[in-house]
Symmetry: C2
Subunit: 442 residues, 2 copies
Amino acid sequence: MANKNMKQQVMNGIRDKVLTLDTMNQSVKNIEYAVRGPILLRAMELERELQQGVKKPFTEIIRANIGDAQAMGQKPITFMRQVLALCQYPDLLSSPSFPEDAKKRAMRILQSCEGHSTGSYSASAGIQMIREDVARYIEHRDGGIASDPDNIFLSTGASSAIMAVLNLLVSGKGKTRTGVMIPIPQYPLYSATLAEFDAVQINYYLNEEHYWGLDVAELQRALEQAKAHCQPQVLCVINPGNPTGQVLSRENIEAVIRFAYEEHLFLMADEVYQDNVYAEGSQFHSFKKVLMEMGSPYAQQLQLASFHSCSKGYMGECGFRGGYTEVVNMDPAVKQQMLKFQSVRLCPPVLGQILIDIVTNPPQPGEPSYQQFQQELGQPADMFFCIQLLEETGICVVPGSGFGQKDGTYHFRMTILPPLEKLKILLEKLNQFYAKFTQEYS
Amino acid sequence: MANKNMKQQVMNGIRDKVLTLDTMNQSVKNIEYAVRGPILLRAMELERELQQGVKKPFTEIIRANIGDAQAMGQKPITFMRQVLALCQYPDLLSSPSFPEDAKKRAMRILQSCEGHSTGSYSASAGIQMIREDVARYIEHRDGGIASDPDNIFLSTGASSAIMAVLNLLVSGKGKTRTGVMIPIPQYPLYSATLAEFDAVQINYYLNEEHYWGLDVAELQRALEQAKAHCQPQVLCVINPGNPTGQVLSRENIEAVIRFAYEEHLFLMADEVYQDNVYAEGSQFHSFKKVLMEMGSPYAQQLQLASFHSCSKGYMGECGFRGGYTEVVNMDPAVKQQMLKFQSVRLCPPVLGQILIDIVTNPPQPGEPSYQQFQQELGQPADMFFCIQLLEETGICVVPGSGFGQKDGTYHFRMTILPPLEKLKILLEKLNQFYAKFTQEYS
């Protein structure tokens, strides 16, 4: 018993509890997380009230607070769910209602699981085969620039990887405490994590007048100002932007890389929206690719971690918590520390890892699931037909969906203006292609 | 550029990297995690060497470093995997090869997912319906003592819940830094997490001479000694013990609760092995149940968090990372903080949550999957028959497996010593039961 007063309180049965708002970890208390904050809690209450029949000026809550496609009714991609179901319940491998390519993927994945089961722990950095698939996928994305599977760490969504890398980076006390530059507006995972780790948040403001662009002059301003009270060591960039949606140009990325290099900063590139670029003229450039193409001294010196997830993109599989990070120029000894850090958490959820594998290894042309997979990416069947026709024969026609057609029917529209000889060749080619296409995809 | 020397280094291309062993977070560097430490890394290397054909005095690595039943060849429970496959790929709901009770469970779970899909995020504390199922399960386990779903937090394995609660508890500086009492030997998650959070580890030693028992005198010794250099605030108990396997008696648990109460400690009960008690005379008592039965002032005052997981027990589904904690007497404001803390991490993997739901809501007598489910728990069919016979008719016979029988055949052995009248009744009852049993389970 610590003192007499406490003893008395105990006897009166009115002593304080051990864990209270006052005694708890104040860094955790300082966290703010708007995406799931008081508004969402109130929305959940309202949903319960509506269920209980309380009258409101609306009949349902529409949740636009978080990027959660399937909660909003987006259908999962059939092929992904088939492979997952097969991995989970391998009795289905003998079922005729699953396509052969889904079975092939499932068997390959099960082979790489301990005890051939998704119910066992994986290696802490993730299943080795999946790390290799991810590296190949990145190489393909980046036009052949090498990616090393040993630099890939699978994770519990991108969030846990971002937190792990930040955790490695935060050190020092008082004026030497690590400062981390984040964009404003930002995805609040960053500010929340910095509060939790008691790191110094350095705000740089995106330029709303220029489509939320990223100005290096503003980076410089923020950095210089921060140097007075902390040691800036990390620059976080979200590209494509969340919540702004802006997509950085290649020149802009180069300027950011030069800045990070010159200022001796570790660069964290949150690229989870890399598959969600729609605006005409916009194109996603990965920081890794630009860095490597800039050559010496940047390519060999700048330390970079890039993050991706299966929660966004066309798949929107948030509930499985799959993600990964690729680290570049990371000290091997620090990579060992990162691995140890992940080990304490045992391993990322195996099903999330499997989803990442399917993302990196989707159905290929000629495989039975290819057509449906492409269609489910939002491409109508007639559009798919016309693109394939163009690619394979050079014949350019227009899909019927551009004109309107009954659901479930597909058309294309062609002109018959070419001269007779050309028209003959055209119809022959078309005939052959149609036969091949229907054989391949039906 | 910070200074001239650095500029020179940059020009020479030999500058230091930002993140090195020296600059990194020293608390992370101090973590040790033996379960997945250097031995495992070496084992993984050896496996690769064996695959490459290198000759060794052995032909395979047998991994006994971590409790991972399915990696060692244990088969998953069919019913669990059926429900998971159905949830994942709901097209299977119309397949005749899945039992009706598995479909019913899957539909109920999908109803409770946002957008009726496992691919959406859940609430951060877990799917509400599953929290309610867990609370009911705990009530049943504890003989009817109430459990509030609002006190249940689903998690990414038990590990993430243990880390979250510890994170809430750690505060102070120097001599007021939080001290956490842990058993030695312990499961190294505890020492690793305390190193990561820079909390003070207080060792209390289990008594090997008394089957690794937990002596309150040793708790007292460790506590008094620690008070000189930190503020002890937390007592962690692992029951059943890991790695020791010891199971605490009810008296022992009461003594621990009194100690924690008197010393004003928050009690963390790691009970993930609660379904793995085999020794004759041993029985698992949950800390929650004992605490509640001790009454005032303990039941209303002592703060407790208890942890469970789907990685252990009969299911051994480690790869799904499902777990939960039940908190008792936690300040509502602190519960809000815990919820916020989980929110930053978005949500635990939904498939792990579903597994937790099936654990709490297994097939019931009369449902089509009941017999197979029971059998897969290691109960031979003849044992199951004899137990049901006894429960329903009072007739006590002996299963054939006790005597030996051919694989796939099942027998029982009965004596014919009862008097003729009794024997007649017995055979009639047996006849009726047999008819009912075979109708129900075949």
